[in-house]
């Protein structure tokens, strides 16, 4: 909301600078967005009269002039074409400053001293549209009447000084979307008296009528229109508004149109109540109905766009057609024109929630709708329409007809709130006396009667003690509030199990050289295709109804595409050896939760993405084993996965606890790499942290450090390539467990060599293990272990057709 300081002065004395006023109002809740001080950037520019114009001796295009600036005569050289002797012009003297920081200094022009400069409209920072008699590329020629002002500051003479403060008004304070409201805040903030120049409006009595000049009004949707007042003005003379009104409108950012339209805008700015004016002749049947629109009903609004409405929208209609979209914009069909003779003024209160919806639907957020949507006062409508009529009279723009049509089905409720001094002080942490509270409240027109604060009609936001507390705090001063420490029960600040695990995982990854990334949860359908995400998962994706773009249309059901995008970006930028991780969520609508209004599955996922010289499947596998180890997930299975199309079918594994897949790791499928234009092998892991937390068991127990020596044996066997070492290991462990009883066990099994050559045979490999046996109660003897080794060897021969290598 832009407010000119000059206009605010009608409501409150202001004896501080514009900046100080801005700071003070900011601290009482009307935050300043911007301060515009017009005229302050023009210095040392005065009114001058051209006495003579002579040719420049050294330049054809220049002239040498003598200019009278009251107490002295200056010689000025200029190239201007539109000047003649005796013209009155603005003169920038030596040392003058112009808008945009331009400085004028006395200097010779082609050998002749020039002691200043004549200014154009543009050079003074003025808008050529406001000075229709001036030309753009010439000197500003002032009327002869300014001859009396020679030597005076042009800023004062042309009344260019204008200070405008733009306030950010919070949605609870629609009353401050008016000069009156801001004027009240100004007076209260500065400790001045609120002058209330529109007090007469509260006392005015206007007779109620059912019909004026044949006009009748009905409200058929009282749930959307709480009050509708109409007044009529006859013998209207449409014309331009007086300068003071144009100036005030302009300062507040509103363009002048004609006197009647300007009056409606002026009232809106002054009192915060949007108004509308119709030409009586455009109201067919002279019957105004405030009704819901019919489905598919059309209206062309003042901006010449046709809009289609439905029964959720409220319109002002005559007997045949809508003439305005209530609270949003008038119809072109009832516009005030040069020929308009009789005007119907409308001042109404429409339900804000509905105005907001309609305005949003038709894509028209106007000065009017943005006020209505915050909830206006029905009581203010009468003041506004009477003010409009008062202005008509003041401007001599027409003859008001006596009486008003006032349909007011739902009276505005006035809130009374208990002034509970203790509760307010407890809430604020203050010790403000009751009298102090009353004084503050009365400054802003909140009367206190019998310990109840009575919210004035324009403060519908005041409902609770907390609201009254805020008003008191605002003017007591937020900056005067103490800083205290909570006096409450001691609480324990500890991370949850999941938060601890997550932090440990982060540490392991960072210590292993991975950097964390942050990705958006959005993906596009294309991303899912590029990453070859399987169909069932794509079907689980959640669609955003109002996405920023197609790429951001879905909530990702898997984090793979997000990681692939980042790997692709880094590869594209030639970053070498990239190792990244991301802990974020996937979003899966598995059982139609979203349609049922329920929250869909959102699991916490660790995603790892890597490429570079020092990474392969087994580095990734080791990393994940470490992640599981710090998470205290101790028993899991690593199984080959061939069906996940995002991964290389021969180089992918699932990590399972029971049948539950807690992680998938592997090399990215070459087709996916191609889709992302990546020319090197990439490795991916998706680890479900939510599941890890579920399987995390802190069950570490001390085991006695062995006192007796172990027996170590090696075994090397030749097996077919397709036999997984994991299977061989399981077999050895199982067999050893079966054979060794009591304190005897296979303590360690380590694969130490895999070897292939022609002698071994095609599609075969030799795998070598070292086995460590131990008895915790005594030294083991060879005699005890030899048969065990024999049995194990036999088992491997039988099960895997293994051949013992000697």
């Amino acid at each position: 909301m832009k407010a000119s300081v000059e206009w605010l002065k009608e409501y409150s004395d202001i004896d501080v600078s514009c900046e100080e006023l801005g700071d003070i109002l900011t601290m009482t809740g009307s935050k300043v967005e911007e301060i515009d001080q017009k005229g302050n950037d023009i210095k040392n520019v005065v009114v001058g009269k051209i006495l003579e114009i002579k040719k420049h001796p050294n330049a054809d295009k220049l002239v040498v002039t003598k200019v009278d600036i009251g107490n002295e005569t200056l010689q000025i050289v200029t190239g201007a074409k539109n000047i003649k002797e005796n013209d009155i012009v603005p003169i920038a003297k030596d040392g003058a400053e112009l808008p945009g920081g331009k400085k004028i200094v006395k200097s010779p022009l082609r050998g002749i001293d020039s002691c200043g400069m004549m200014c154009s409209v543009g050079e003074l920072g003025l808008d050529i549209k406001d000075y229709p008699n001036q030309i753009e590329d010439g000197i500003m020629i002032l009327p002869k009447s300014y001859e009396k002002d020679l030597g005076k500051d042009i800023v004062d003479v042309l009344n260019l000084r204008e200070e405008v403060i733009d306030f950010e008004i919070t949605p609870n304070r629609p009353d401050c979307l008016s000069i009156e409201g801001l004027g009240r805040e100004t007076a209260a903030s500065l400790g001045k008296t609120f002058k209330n120049p529109r007090k007469n409006l509260d006392e005015l009595k206007i007779e109620d009528k059912n019909e004026i000049e044949g006009i009748k009004v009905d409200i058929t949707a009282p749930d959307l229109c709480y009050r509708y007042i109409a007044r009529v003005v006859k013998n209207v003379k449409i014309g331009p508004s007086p300068e003071w009104m144009v100036r005030r409108l302009k300062a507040c950012g509103v363009r002048s149109i004609n006197n009647i339209v300007d009056i409606t805008n002026c009232v809106m700015l002054e009192l915060g109540q949007p108004m509308h004016a119709f030409d009586i002749n455009s109201i067919e049947g002279k019957h105004i109905t405030v009704r819901r629109a019919k489905n598919g009903e059309k209206i062309t609004t003042l901006d010449e766009v046709e809009r289609t409405l439905d029964e959720n929208d409220l319109v002002i209609a005559d007997e045949k057609k809508p003439v305005a979209i209530a609270g949003v914009m008038g119809g072109l069909n009832s516009e005030i024109e040069e020929t308009t003779k009789t005007v119907v003024f409308e001042s109404a209160m429409f339900y804000g929630g509905n105005v907001r919806k309609t305005a949003k639907k038709v894509g028209l957020r106007t000065e009017s709708s943005s006020r209505f949507e915050k909830g206006l006062s029905s009581e203010n409508t009468l003041r506004a329409i009477n003010r409009a009529v008062e202005l008509v009279e003041l401007l001599g723009a027409g003859e008001p007809v006596d009486g008003k049509i006032d349909v007011y089905p739902t009276k505005q409720k006035i809130n009374k709130i208990k002034l509970d001094v203790d509760r307010i002080n407890n809430l604020l942490g203050t010790k403000i006396s009751k009298q102090e509270m009353i004084d503050i409240l009365e400054k802003i027109d909140i009367k206190v009667e019998n310990d109840f604060a009575i919210a004035p009609y324009f403060r519908m936001d005041l409902e609770f003690v907390a609201d009254i507390a805020e008003e008191i705090a605002r003017f007591y001063g937020y900056d005067k509030l103490d800083t205290t420490l909570i006096k409450a029960a001691t609480t324990l600040g500890v991370r949850t199990k999941e938060q601890k695990i997550e932090k440990k995982i982060e540490d392991v990854l960072v210590n292993n050289g991975l950097s964390e990334i942050y990705t958006y949860g959005f993906v596009g359908e294309k991303d899912l295709e590029k990453s070859k995400i399987r169909k069932e998962l794509i079907e689980n994706a959640i669609t955003i109804t109002n996405p920023l773009s197609d790429e951001y249309k879905l909530m990702r059901p898997t984090t793979i595409p997000s990681m692939m995008q980042i790997l692709a970006l880094n590869n594209n930028r030639k970053n070498q050896n990239v190792k990244l991780f991301d802990i974020s969520r996937n979003y899966r609508n598995i059982n139609g939760e979203v349609e049922k209004g329920e929250v869909p599955l959102q699991e916490n996922i660790l995603t790892i993405g890597m490429y570079g010289d020092d990474v392969d499947f087994y580095t990734l596998k080791g990393l994940i084993e470490n992640v599981l180890e710090v998470s205290n997930v101790n028993s899991y299975d690593i199984q080959k996965e061939t069906q996940n199309e995002s991964y290389h079918p021969g180089r992918c594994a699932n990590i399972k606890v029971g049948i539950d897949v807690i992680a998938t790791i592997g090399e990215v499928h070459p087709e996916v790499l191609m889709n992302y234009d990546i020319n090197k092998k990439c490795y991916l892991a998706e680890v479900n942290i939510t599941k890890i937390v579920k399987y995390s068991k802190q069950n570490k127990k001390y085991h006695e450090v062995p006192k007796f020596p172990a027996v170590e044996r090696d075994i090397a066997i030749i097996v077919d390539e397709n036999i997984e070492v994991g299977e061989i290991e399981k077999t050895i462990i199982r067999k050893a467990r079966k054979l060794l009883k009591g304190k005897k066990s296979l303590e360690e099994l380590k694969l130490f060599d895999i070897y292939r050559d022609e002698k071994i045979g095609e599609n075969k490999r030799s795998v070598a293990y070292s086995l460590v046996f131990r008895d915790l109660s005594k030294s083991l003897s060879d005699d005890e272990i030899n048969p065990v080794m024999e049995e194990i060897t036999k088992e491997l021969e039988n099960k895997f057709n293994a051949e013992l290598r000697k």
Partner: protein, 339 residues
């Protein structure tokens, strides 16, 4: 005979002095003290001496032998030391050559700020709470005193999945969920991603991160809120940080405030980050609105509370001197490595 012994002693000492390495030293030992060594031979030849002379000469030889042994030992130590020093000299390395460390990765700047804030509040007895990002509109809006027609729903351009399900536009729904399930005293912070329909540019992102705090108990006051935030900002942004409250409006708090902190980049003198004002708008906060309490099953006549919230990216950008928000989500490895 004595002369002969003195001679042996003299010669052997001389040779010892000239000895340059352990081998020549050993040769000297053999030459004089070995089985066929010169001094040993003297002992053997003692049979020729008179009985009264024998013990005299015997003890003299033993004395010289001990003396020589000691000298040899000392010489040996000295030579060993010299030898070690020669060896060490050959083992010299250039300590400025590159190390063999495993390069550490890094936590994203957003995580670093979040964890710093978490640690401060954990220390003050707060728990960390979490909730869904794809959230029910009722938690994102209605329970927070923002009913369907409320203008605030207009201000926050929310991503909608259905009319009832949204991408949370704030982390406040977590507060509502905690209040519904937990009895006061409640002291939580809720960090997390939030979504707003903003196009991406240097200062906007449709996804960003917030940290909100909530305290509910008997007799919680606005001065407690101010004190808590002052303590937090001093710990997080520097001991000299000042905090300033301005009245503001949020649907879920009353009274509400916006809190500015003295610029933690320039210390309040005015710089690019604070746009010359010396203050940075940092937080929104206030006393929990009675309607919010009612909606979440807490009696507003019995309990009061405060809530606050702020954006993580803004702090991260100001603290690390990052001028373009897009860098945070682009994830160029060369960017990430710097933190």
């Amino acid at each position: 005979m004595e002369e002969e012994i003195a001679k042996i002693k003299e010669n052997s000492i001389k040779e010892m002095e000239n000895s340059k390495d352990l081998k020549s030293l050993n040769d000297i030992r053999v030459k004089y003290l070995g089985k066929k060594g010169e001094l040993t031979l003297v002992l053997r030849g003692m049979g020729k001496l008179s009985p009264e002379k024998r013990p005299v000469i015997g003890s003299l030889v033993n004395q010289v032998r001990d003396e020589l042994n000691n000298l040899l030992e000392e010489k040996e130590k000295e030579l060993k030391k010299q030898e070690l020093q020669r060896k060490l000299a050959t083992e010299n390395i250039d300590v400025t050559e590159p190390s063999k460390k495993i390069h550490l990765g890094s936590l994203h700047p957003i995580t670093q700020i979040i964890e710093e804030v978490e640690d401060i509040f954990l220390g003050m007895g707060y728990e960390i709470a979490d909730g869904p990002e794809v959230e029910k509109a009722i938690y994102n809006f209605d329970k927070l005193n923002t009913p369907p027609d409320h203008p605030a729903r207009d201000i926050q351009d929310t991503f909608y999945i259905t009319d009832d399900i949204v991408l949370r536009s704030q982390t406040s729904p977590v507060q509502a969920r905690v209040m519904e399930t937990k009895k006061p005293p409640i002291k939580i912070i809720c960090p997390g991603a939030v979504y707003r329909s903003d196009s991406i540019d240097a200062t906007h992102s449709p996804v960003f991160h917030q940290i909100e705090g909530l305290v509910v108990d008997k007799n919680i006051s606005m001065t407690d809120l101010k004190g808590t935030l002052e303590m937090f900002t001093k710990k997080c942004l520097g001991e000299n940080t000042k905090i300033r409250f301005r009245p503001h409006h949020f649907p879920f708090t009353e009274p509400s405030a916006e809190a500015d902190v003295s610029c933690f980049v320039c210390g309040g003198k005015g710089c690019r980050v604070c746009k010359g004002e010396g203050w940075i708008e940092l937080l929104g906060c206030g006393m929990v609105h009675p309607n919010v309490f009612k909606n979440c099953g807490i009696d507003p006549d019995e309990y009061t509370g405060f809530a606050f919230g702020f954006g993580v990216e803004r702090i991260a950008m100001a603290k690390f001197g990052i001028e373009d928000m897009r860098l945070l989500f682009e994830n160029d490895a060369r960017f990430l490595k710097q933190f």
